[in-house]
């Protein structure tokens, strides 16, 4: 098959899996997950083939794989949709395919495939465990998820959305994939819809991202109205970009390019959970953990960053827009990192770290560090998928302990209920450690170090305030990561449940191991050339490859000791301090960082609630419902109702009953009856009387004719 054909086919298997599972195999759990994983495997295979072929092309950036078809007739021209694989897409496909496949496999174990049905499990609620008898004694084991097949259908659709978005060569199909993911995130965050918190989180995620999406759609429409094209290759031509740059938009002194870029960026703010639209992401933890990994690593938030990276040639035209992006990114990086310090839920810490890391990428993009942003996007996807799957594994192990003790009030996600899991769950521990160190930027070995170091180096070279902000954020990142690892895995078990935690099945640990390989190894492709000792040993392949995406190959920044030392200090310092601080902390009371404003996420939710949600509800109730709906609309209806009834009554009483019924209906019957009654007496049966009658009538008619007709 030609490479273009394969690219077209990459998104299809998961979509097909979705329909197959929903329509046909919903009742068969084994078949459903086989179909879903098979589909993910096919997409993975396609992506790897495309990636391998992309590697073999010299200067892929100038001659990317493209293919497009006419889709909609727009006046004289055709609106085209198609696929595009340039270096950026190829790398994105690589990490998306890997993480998606790993998450799919992991979900099998996470949803307890092979375990018995629960004793009293309900659809829409997490499984509560099943009682089994073994060796003469009863004990509780995890039970299989009641809506197992549905889960695989949804993540299949999710993967379809992401692959569509990645291979698109235009903003419209990219937006289609974007919205499919929005829908899937809603469905999956609210997967356990029996829980009110999950329902609320799903609605919140959907509404919040919708705000961004509306702006993004405006941006797309604006771009189309100015250039008449949505295809990347048509937009990113020198003339088009130049036109966009010189036409002012008339809004706040932005150029057209700047305003479009800003609108598209707001879409990303929603999707990638940047301040101020970050509120949905921590709540998205209500979904099953593979979903969190899916949203946080493989698909959703990566899609947001991918889109701004994709639109970078447009964004970089306006310095004002770039400043906004850099500011939002850097601010979010620090802001989310501080909140993460005080969270006790293992997944919430990771959620805020995701927001923070996405802030790093956005900030990198905002200061023009294109390659660093791509690099961090990929490494982050790997280690964050690893961390989420690892945390899911921890929760799963803790649930095992909860089943053992039977105390269901113990929260298996609270880190203060854990401790000492290192020995209980060794594979999870080591892989989580790798992921956590990658997130912290542990020097040299982990991938996170190289990508974060590159961002810091670029920031140091271009924008000092951003550099300082990111350095602090990086320090906090290392600190809260070590806090998490210490609380979860080190020390002694703090609860009976943690003492009975258990390593998870191989379907969960294998993906962890594979992802941890990437979390270490993927950094080595992007070692800066002038790095002391190591630089130059391995060529900086990433820089060459990704740099080719842009028309103007970006220059690597000069090596400087300051950012390198900074990143070494913050990573090692954060990790070290984190360990020292939390070595002996055993309860939230001993934790000095449980500050109210951090714990409550700076009250952003409360502020939004007071400023947006409450007034909206008030408006909906008092104005729309009471006045508009009940008063006005219903009032009109109440006029119409009796009016038509009156007309109907009138017609019935004064026309239908007297005329149609009485006169026409009854009248004709009465006349016939009456005449029959009167005439029956002449019907005697006597032939001579008939003859007599005939004679009389004959004479009478004859006389009449004679006197009145013929005589004239």
């Amino acid at each position: 098959m030609s490479t273009e054909t394969i690219i077209w086919l990459i998104p299809l298997p998961p979509a097909l899996a979705f329909f197959l599972i929903v329509l046909f195999t919903n009742r068969n759990k084994a078949l459903s997950h086989t179909i879903a994983i098979g589909a993910a495997l096919l997409s993975w295979l396609g992506s790897m083939i495309v990636f391998a072929r992309a590697l073999g092309v010299e200067r892929l950036g100038e001659r990317p794989f493209t293919s497009s078809i006419n889709w909609l007739a727009t006046g004289d021209t055709w609106f085209k949709i198609g696929v595009l694989v340039d270096p950026l897409t190829a790398l994105t496909l690589f990490f998306v395919a890997w993480t998606v496949l790993m998450i799919f496999i992991y979900s099998v174990g996470y949803h307890n495939f092979g375990q018995p049905e629960g004793d009293h499990d309900h659809k829409g609620l997490p499984p509560h465990g099943a009682t089994v008898e073994e060796h003469g004694s009863k004990h509780v084991v995890p039970s299989v998820e009641p809506m197992y097949s549905r889960f695989f259908a949804f993540i299949g659709l999710f993967a379809f959305g992401m692959f569509t978005l990645v291979v698109s060569d235009n903003l419209l199909t990219l937006f289609v994939g974007w919205e499919i993911m929005g829908l899937c995130s809603y469905l999956l965050i609210g997967f356990w819809y029996g829980k009110k918190s999950a329902r609320d989180a799903a609605v919140k995620a959907f509404m919040t991202t919708r705000i961004g999406d509306v702006f993004m759609l405006l941006g797309i429409a604006y771009l189309y109205s100015v250039t008449g094209a949505l295809s990347f290759r048509e937009i990113f031509t020198e003339t088009t970009l130049h036109t966009l740059q010189i036409i002012p938009s008339g809004v706040l002194g932005f150029s057209t390019a700047g305003l479009i870029g800003l609108l598209l960026f707001i879409g990303t703010v929603g999707k990638s959970a940047q301040f101020p639209l970050h509120v949905w992401l921590p709540d998205a933890m209500e979904g099953p953990t593979p979903v969190s990994a899916m949203i946080h690593a493989a698909t959703m938030v990566s899609a947001g960053v991918y889109t701004v990276i994709r639109m970078f040639p447009l964004l970089s035209l306006d310095t004002q827009t770039m400043s906004v992006i850099a500011f939002i990114g850097a601010f979010t990086a620090l802001f989310a990192a501080t909140i993460a310090l005080a969270q006790n839920d293992i997944k919430r810490v990771l959620a805020y770290s995701t927001i923070s890391q996405l802030g790093f990428m956005i900030a990198a993009l905002g200061i023009g560090a294109y390659i660093a942003a791509v690099f961090h996007l990929i490494t982050h996807a790997f280690f964050k998928a690893l961390l989420f799957l690892g945390s899911g594994s921890v929760i799963h192990g803790m649930e095992h302990g909860v089943f053992h003790t039977g105390k269901h009030e113990v929260d298996p996600q609270d880190m203060f209920n854990m401790g000492g899991l290192k020995n209980k769950m060794p594979i999870t521990f080591w892989t989580f450690l790798i992921g956590g160190f990658a997130l912290s930027g542990f020097p040299i070995v982990t991938a996170g170090f190289w990508s974060k170091d590159e961002i810091l180096a670029d920031a140091f070279a271009h924008n000092l305030p951003v550099f300082l902000t990111l350095a602090v954020a990086a320090f906090l990142t290392a600190f809260y990561t070590m806090r998490q690892i210490t609380l979860t895995f080190l020390g002694e078990p703090r609860t009976e449940e943690a003492r009975h935690a258990h390593e998870t099945p191989w379907t969960m640990t294998i993906p962890l191991i594979i992802l941890s390989v990437f979390a270490i190894g993927f950094g080595w492709i992007g070692i800066p050339e002038h790095f002391p000792l190591l630089g130059g040993l391995v060529p900086n392949w990433l820089h060459e490859f990704v740099g080719g995406t842009l028309a103007e190959h970006p220059e690597a920044v000069e090596f400087s000791w300051t950012p390198l030392l900074t990143s070494l200090v913050v990573a090692l310092g954060g990790l070290g301090l984190g360990y020292l601080f939390y070595r002996n902390v055993n309860s939230p009371a001993e934790d000095k960082l449980q500050l109210g404003f951090l714990k409550n996420k700076y009250y952003v939710d409360e502020i939004y609630n007071a400023v947006f949600v409450k007034p909206a509800i008030w408006f909906a109730d008092k104005v729309v419902y009471q006045i508009m709906d009940k008063g006005f609309i219903d009032g009109i209806l109440h006029l119409f109702g009796p009016g038509t009834q009156g007309i109907g009554d009138g017609i019935r009483n004064y026309f239908d009953l007297p005329f149609i019924n009485r006169f026409l209906g009854d009248g004709s019957a009465n006349v016939t009856y009456f005449s029959g009654e009167k005439l029956r007496v002449i019907q005697t049966g006597r032939i001579q009387q008939y003859l007599m009658l005939a004679l009389i009538l004959f004479l009478a008619i004859g006389a009449i004719l004679y006197f009145f007709v013929f005589s004239v």
Binding site: R680, Q683, T684, R686, I687, Y690, L691, L695
Partner: protein, 102 residues
Amino acid sequence: MVPLSWYLIFSAALFSIGLFGVLSRRNLIAILLGIELMLNSVNVNLAAFWRYGDVTNITGQVFAVIVFAVAAAEVSVGLALVISVYRKRNTVIADEIDMLKF
């Protein structure tokens, strides 16, 4: 030659006698006799009109012959009916045969 009107008057008288017989007699056979009288009065008319009209055209005579034939057939059928009625109801009085009503 007697004038045409005489024939017509005779014929009308004969017809009236026949009609009176049909209407007034109670016996079915007498009613049939009345019908015969009426038919024959018509024959007298036909013959008279032929004789006083175009003699070369013999339509009137032919018509009279056909009426004879019809009368003969009618009488035979009528008598057969009378016998049949008599066998069934044991009477030939017209008033008693009054099943032709609702």
